[in-house]
Symmetry: C2
Subunit: 227 residues, 2 copies
């Protein structure tokens, strides 16, 4: 299996939040995979899956795009060690996936966007700056400048995750599964691209993050940081 991932100017720095959702899902299933680096301006490898974004999975000729569709593909093709555990759970998971994308990704993005730019080479960085500044309506540096203010409502918006982790050990209950990888994968994006602290050290989300970093023999903890 090949997983196509976004990388920085340092090829070993892999920061896509969606790729991390899939990485952890593959580890959960115990499926071996190779990672293939892709840059913003070099997305030819993704064309086999008719995709313009990572992640893309190539499972011996079966090409799948979109992190959530890849998770569903893995679940249906390799049903051992469930990521969801049934049709109702898959339905619910789509809602959680949308929540993580619409709420978490959108809130985190402006707080780390100039840091992400710093991880890119000149050519990819110029492309990133142009497209993202158009989206943001300001410079990357302006978006990030008031992140100490932006982080306050972000932390509040994470109350559902925080409260859940006060009632149970993982977001999927007594052991981690896809919902954990979805939220954690999104946080890995910030961890790898930026030194900015999204949470206070005593936030219950930090204790859970630590457990997630330790999983699979410290797989995520060993990931190369971009700074």
């Amino acid at each position: 299996m090949q997983l196509f991932e976004l990388c920085g100017k340092d090829e070993d720095v892999r920061f896509s939040p969606y790729v991390w959702r899939v990485r952890m899902s593959l580890m959960h299933k115990g499926l071996p995979f190779d990672v293939v680096p892709v840059r913003f301006l070099d997305k030819k490898p993704l064309e086999n899956a008719q995709s313009k974004t990572v992640p893309v999975l190539n499972d011996e000729g079966t090409w799948v795009k979109d992190s959530f569709d890849i998770a569903l593909y893995l679940e249906h093709t390799y049903p051992d060690r469930p990521l969801f555990g049934g049709e109702l759970a898959e339905g619910q998971a789509r809602l959680l996936n949308e929540w993580a994308t619409q709420t978490m990704v959108r809130s985190i993005f402006p707080m780390i966007v100039a840091d992400i730019h710093s991880r890119l080479d000149d050519k990819n960085g110029a492309y990133f700056r142009e497209t993202r500044e158009k989206f943001l309506g300001c410079t990357l540096e302006e978006a990030q400048a008031d992140r100490d203010a932006k982080v306050v409502p972000f932390r509040q918006s994470m109350a559902p995750v925080r409260n859940t982790l006060q009632a149970q050990e993982f977001l999927c209950g007594s052991s981690p599964a896809w919902a954990d990888y979805c939220v954690f994968g999104t946080l890995m994006w910030a961890r790898i691209a930026s030194e900015f602290a999204l949470f206070e050290v005593d936030d219950p989300i930090m204790a859970w993050t630590d457990k997630m970093l330790d999983m699979f023999d410290g797989y995520a903890r060993k990931a190369k940081l971009g700074y």
Copy 2:
């Protein structure tokens, strides 16, 4: 089975969002139940469950409080017609439950709070006004006055639900289950207490709401409105 519910000055007007989550769950399981009205200032009936809030379920002497715990109780006691469908799904559902409570309930509350007050008798209304105005830091009428502005970010915050319903028929996939009842139940609160339109008529959430109102022979559609 007895379900203890909050009611207005008209005893047949039952508007608690948490009660509606349980009502729909009981209908889903096909379990017969009686509804017992409770008012804000008359919560003696809830003491058997050591609860100060509705809903409370009395299943022939087994008392259960909290809408999510009641749903779990029903799932484990009456496993036919699953509401969740497994441990991972129950874990995920707690996160969705927290999201619906932290995000939906908190956003909707100030937009309908004076309308809720109008549904109460003088004594319960005075109690409601005093406690809720302390919580809000303004009068009920002030909180509700700018609801045309408040509804804009609320509609945006519902993007996860909207996007999910564009990919699948119900929040639990191809058929409704607990996640649907959780979100729909929260919307029943506004439907029964207030004439204010939370969504534009062409919002995909409205089409799904219509399907939910039709379920179980139009059970929710027949509920008495408070106005």
